[in-house]
């Protein structure tokens, strides 16, 4: 097929991939520190979006404020989840932490069903004008929503911001130290629990941010909206090398492109799109468990 088709799909892919990357970053951070797949990540994202939606609807306030509130709210939620659900399990086997994470995800979803209602909410209705959301640029026949660039821009900003936190601040150093080895770090008088909680808050804030971007593109807010994107984002994180932030972003973009291109050029694959992501995951895990940019750990005997 023609070049426009290629360009179009490329941008479609980058759009989707950018969103995956955004979510994956939060995943990968928490995993990097705790070695815990935070199953609830996608649901924190969902909660964040609901926060923004209801805040805007109830207080009739500006979207920007709503977004800030949502991000802070999600951060707080993340902090709470960590303190209530995960902290008691720090020394328990990793699996029980994982089960708990599943439980938390389950809880948040049912909570949203009861409190926010199961009927999908139209996210974009909180915007005064839809122009930004609907605006489309025409690039050589290919039509690219302005949102695409916004997503890419924000992903970039967040990446820089994270880079600064992780590599330029004291707490960032602590985070890296912990991800290397918890006991020693705590011996060095670092308040491990605080750093972990901080990471959770940060990760959850990211989840909310990505959720808001996601809902600007896909303005359909419902209690289970977090599940699939969460899964995909996790796959992206593993793909890129879990624990590595650049890895998450690379993985996200690649997954997005794959999910767009494979069905675009092999239409019979269209139905198997979600399966595709999982197959990628399995292959990656078997061929290169450390992911594209991850570093591998050796088992001590």
């Amino acid at each position: 097929m023609n070049i426009t088709f290629l360009v179009q799909n490329t941008f479609n892919g980058i759009m989707l991939g950018g969103l995956y990357a955004l979510i994956a970053v939060g995943y990968t951070m928490v995993y990097g520190i705790l070695r815990l797949i935070n199953f609830a990540h996608g649901d924190v994202m969902m909660m964040g979006v609901y926060f923004a939606f209801y805040f805007a609807v109830l207080t009739k306030s500006n979207v920007v404020i709503a977004f800030i509130v949502a991000v802070l709210g999600a951060a707080l939620l993340g902090f709470l989840i960590d303190n209530v659900a995960y902290k008691p399990l720090r020394n328990a086997p990793r699996i029980s932490a994982l089960i708990t994470a599943i439980g938390v995800s389950f809880f948040l979803e049912s909570f949203a069903v009861v409190v926010f209602g199961a009927i999908p909410k139209p996210f974009t209705s909180i915007f005064k004008s839809q122009t930004l959301l609907m605006k489309v640029l025409n690039v050589g026949g290919a039509r690219i929503p302005v949102l695409t660039f916004l997503v890419i821009g924000i992903t970039a900003v967040i990446f820089v911001f994270l880079f600064l936190i992780v590599y330029k601040t004291k707490i960032g150093m602590a985070m890296r130290a912990i991800s290397a080895d918890i006991p020693t770090t705590s011996l060095m008088g670092v308040n491990v629990n605080f750093v972990i909680s901080f990471t959770f808050a940060l990760g959850s804030a990211l989840a909310a941010a990505s959720g808001l971007m996601w809902s600007m593109r896909y303005p359909n807010v419902f209690p289970y909206m977090g599940f699939m994107p969460g899964m995909k984002a996790f796959i992206a994180a593993v793909f890129g090398g879990i624990g590595s932030i650049p890895g998450a972003i690379l993985g996200g973009l690649l997954l997005g492109l794959i999910e767009i291109f494979i069905p675009a050029y092999f239409q019979s694959m269209m139905m198997y799109r979600d399966a595709l992501a999982f197959i990628i995951l399995i292959v990656i895990l078997l061929v290169k468990p450390s992911g594209l940019l991850g570093k591998k750990a050796v088992e001590k005997v």
Partner: protein, 375 residues
């Protein structure tokens, strides 16, 4: 925390349901979970009907609502519970065909009449004597959409988007394609899945075939998103959908993109001729301060049909009610004049076509495809 659990259990123990002497009708709907929107819309209609006609044969009618959480296991258990625990004489439900397929056999086995407001899959009433419905079935609707697209819109090439997760969607698409090809049109088939957020891959393919219309079977969240992205990708042609698109959220999610989208459905205030339709419309607007949805109308009709059957049977005996339901003829309902086919339990009705109006966020009446046209 253990205390909390204890208290919680205590509360549950303290629970006691009181029972009074009335005619009990069970209502099994998805009030939570994936398709709760439909359950809740249907419930609006049913409860309104109950409000307007609370008695039959001089007895109070008591509605008991069961939530099936949009899950199959629960869809079956809820029906069983309604029959064995609450001893209902009839059941209204369920919405999704896959749920009716789970609940139906239990009603059938216990010889309790069940009327589905909106399960359009032919399999639902297949070979059943106690399960009927007030909505037309997918082959009917699909064909109607095809006729409308070909004759009224003059479409020659249509891109058909099917939600492979939904039996409803797959069925509708199939019957549309069959009819549309028979009429001499060309079809591009594309697929997506419930919960999909991004359709650009499929749309880019579809648009490269520049179709006159895009026909999206499935449900409103995906339809809305898909329309949005179709317009963004520069699609100028017609958008066409089934009754799954009919929900206020279509506008709030789809925005201006869904303006002018055509959809086949069961009911439109302006389309319906019956006196009941008028009555229903006014009452509904008064009650909820908004235009009724087709699901509300269908729920309303399902209730009326059962009440009418009870009247004609002159008793609240399930067997009699079931028999009466299947004998329904030219019953003046909201969604048209209903005659239930004795052997299939399906109604013979016209199909209404609506046109989405994004400005006023409502559905305008566009056309009627009569049952005859589809013969």
């Amino acid at each position: 925390m253990r205390k909390l659990i204890f208290v919680l259990l205590l509360v549950v123990f303290a629970v006691s349901i009181f029972v009074a002497e009335e005619i009990k009708i069970g209502v099994v709907l998805p009030m939570t979970g994936g398709i709760s929107a439909f359950g809740q819309m249907t419930w609006e209609g049913i409860s309104l009907a109950h409000k307007m006609y609370p008695t039959v044969l001089g007895k109070e009618v008591k509605l008991i609502l069961f939530d099936n959480r949009s899950e199959k296991t629960e869809a079956a258990n809820a029906v069983a519970r309604a029959i064995d625990k609450e001893h209902v004489v009839a059941i209204i439900g369920e919405v999704a065909s896959s749920h009716s397929l789970a609940g139906g056999p239990i009603a059938e086995k216990n010889h309790i009449p069940m009327v589905s407001p909106a399960s359009t899959n032919p399999m639902v009433t297949q070979g059943k004597r106690y399960v009927s419905r007030v909505c037309f079935i997918d082959p009917f609707q699909g064909a109607a959409a095809a006729v409308f697209a070909f004759k009224n819109l003059g479409a020659k090439t249509v891109a058909v988007f099917t939600d492979i997760e939904q039996d409803y969607s797959v069925g509708l698409s199939k019957f549309f394609v069959d009819k549309f090809k028979k009429l001499g049109g060309k079809v591009v088939s594309l697929y997506y899945r419930t919960g999909d957020q991004d359709f650009t891959a499929q749309l880019t393919i579809a648009l490269s075939k520049n179709p006159d219309a895009i026909y999206v079977t499935g449900y409103y969240p995906e339809i809305a998103l898909l329309s949005r992205q179709a317009r963004q990708l520069g699609f100028k042609g017609y958008l066409l959908a089934g009754d799954g698109a009919e929900a206020p959220e279509l506008f709030s999610i789809g925005g201006d993109a869904v303006d002018g989208l055509f959809l086949t459905t069961h009911y439109h205030p302006k389309g319906a001729a019956t006196s009941m339709a008028k009555k229903f419309y006014d009452a509904f607007v008064k009650e909820y301060g908004k235009d009724p949805s087709a699901l509300a109308a269908l729920g309303f009709d399902a209730y009326l049909l059962i009440i009418d059957a009870i009247k004609r049977a002159g008793s609240a005996d399930p067997e009699a009610i079931a028999k009466a339901i299947r004998e329904t003829e030219n019953f003046e309902a909201v969604t048209g004049v209903i005659t239930i086919e004795k052997e299939t339990g399906n109604p013979i009705k016209d199909v209404v076509v609506d046109k989405a109006n994004a400005k006023e966020k409502k559905f305008d009446f566009a056309a009627i495809v009569s049952a005859q046209e589809l013969k």
